[in-house]
Amino acid sequence: MKQKPYLKHFILLSVLLFIFFLLNISQGSVSIPFKDIFTTLIGNTDVKDSWQTIVLDFRLPKAITAIFVGSGLSICGLLMQTLFRNPLAGPFVLGISSGASLGVALLILGSSVFGGFFLTNSISNWSLAIAASLGAFLVLFAVIMAANQLRNTMSILIVGLMFGSLTGAVIAVLAYFSEATQIQQYLFWSFGSLGNLSWSEMRVFGSIYLVGMFACLSVIKPLNSLLLGENYAKSLGINIKKSRIIVLVITSLLTGVITAFSGPIAFIGLAVPHLAKMLFTTSNHKILIPASAIIGGMVLLICDSIAQLPTSEFTIPINAITSLFGAPIVIWLLLRKKKITI
């Protein structure tokens, strides 16, 4: 499609992203002078050792995670909204996050129900991530099997929602039979968290993220033709079934890995695509995919900065912030501007 000059928008957004990135790193319970943070980031080593560790091993991975999670979820939301031609769709409509939650619930809560079947005392980040991935993958597998059977794209949406309810019910049963401390532990996971990722975990996260992001580029064309509806897309030579499966796999992969490492983070995936569509007033995915990615990363960085409450010891769960601040903003935008479209 013909492109309007959006370069200015993109440059401005990238600069903003970079500023929020630096701001995010400069925040935390230990106050470190901005100059020292900057010198640490560009590889200087004549800064206090403890400060270097804080910046390089805690704050930097967290800020990068925020960008990965924010951009990944936003793109998944965009893909789902176009695929299902439904502005209410988000990355979690397929039940992926419910699947991941079920995996984690089985790991944390299951130990008291099934006895010593699972290792109880030491639940590491890795085992959480693996349990979440397995759960997400199982639901993904079921949804794709169903998608192969179903002609109607809308039915897949409903199947996804049903899987969500089903896993929710299983988790409720598990929680009923669990002890308070375990329920608390599960609850903490479900609050979402961007920190706690080591560099080795970041490497796994980052490579899957990059694969997903590059794969997105291959569905720009089918997604644009899907704006006309499935029959027109088909008449333009698009293989609907194949494109549908590719979109589902990309979304599941990204949301699966994101949920595995940072918990089910709400709202971003639903809201950011709409922010991108309002800001860029286009439906062209060649513009919307990078736009959603940049805005998504930026929004989550801002949310994380708010969650840290400057100069405070406390951090509010990121999942609460995204909805607490995000929902009113989107409502305000909707009231101010016109209607919402796919």
Partner: protein
């Protein structure tokens, strides 16, 4: 007739309808006709007789229950997705989902079969799009959003999209539904003119029977028992129009050569 060199599309014992798990719902069977290159053809018949199903089968949106469809003398089953997209373009009755697409962008989507993996438009693509916009008289609207257009304008945009797809055959399902008399005639004239200037073959389904009998080169008349094809004059000779509605209210008047209303309530 099917062997004629000029035929772009022909059917052999085609049966159309819907196949569900075990049973088939046949809407019409034993369909044999051929469509000549560069003509304007209309499929007419009463509601529910299978006009849309026939068009959907001809454009391979759905499979025939039986028989064969030949496109350019080649069995339609041998066409790949992309090859078909370069041969037949569609204008459907379904509404295009609401989006922020501009008129230009929507018409540009017609170039998808020719664009590269990331959908960038070449010089030739831009030329074709511009030609489609000019042919449908949309120059002043090309930067408007599609959601702001009237039904008649939107229909022209969808026709322009089909034109930019640059196919030999264009299939339009009820292109004049919801349009006023003036817009309806405008669309018919546009289609007629396109068959003359571009040698494209156009197949439409329509309820504008009187207009179709006057403006189309050939008609495909679907009635309960039989399918008639031919020019208006030939069809009148075959009494093809007499039983189209099987009703006293609308009858074909041989003297006037058009359908007239015989209502008791006037």
């Amino acid at each position: 007739m099917t062997k004629n060199k000029n035929n772009i599309l022909s059917t052999e014992n085609l049966a159309i309808g819907y196949a569900q798990k075990k049973q088939q719902k046949v809407i019409a069977s034993g369909i044999n006709f051929a469509i000549k290159k560069g003509t304007l053809n209309a499929v007419i018949g009463k509601n529910g007789i299978g006009k849309s199903t026939l068009l959907r089968t001809l454009s391979k949106v759905q499979k025939p229950l039986e028989g064969t469809l030949f496109i350019n003398k080649k069995n339609s089953n041998a066409y790949q997705h992309l090859e078909l997209a370069k041969t037949i373009s569609l204008v459907l009755t379904e509404r295009v989902p609401e989006s922020q697409l501009t008129v230009f962008e929507l018409i540009a989507l017609g170039r998808q079969p020719y664009t590269n993996w990331i959908d960038s438009l070449s010089k030739k693509d831009l030329q074709k799009i511009q030609w489609a916009i000019t042919a449908t008289n949309l120059e002043t609207l090309q930067n408007n959003r599609c959601s702001e257009l009237s039904d008649g304008q939107m229909q022209r945009v969808l026709i322009a999209r089909a034109l930019s797809q640059d196919t030999e055959i264009i299939v339009l399902d009820e292109p004049t539904a919801h349009l006023d008399m003036h817009q309806t005639i405008t669309i018919f004239e546009l289609l007629k003119q396109l068959t003359k200037t571009t040698k494209k073959t156009i197949i439409i389904s329509t309820h504008e029977i009187n207009l179709a009998t006057k403006m189309c080169d050939e008609l495909i008349v679907l009635s309960e028992n039989k399918i008639y094809t031919g020019t208006t004059a030939a069809l009148i000779q075959q009494n093809a129009f007499e039983n189209l509605f099987a009703s006293k209210i609308v009858k074909f008047d041989r003297a006037l050569q058009q359908f007239v209303i015989h209502s008791q309530t006037f």
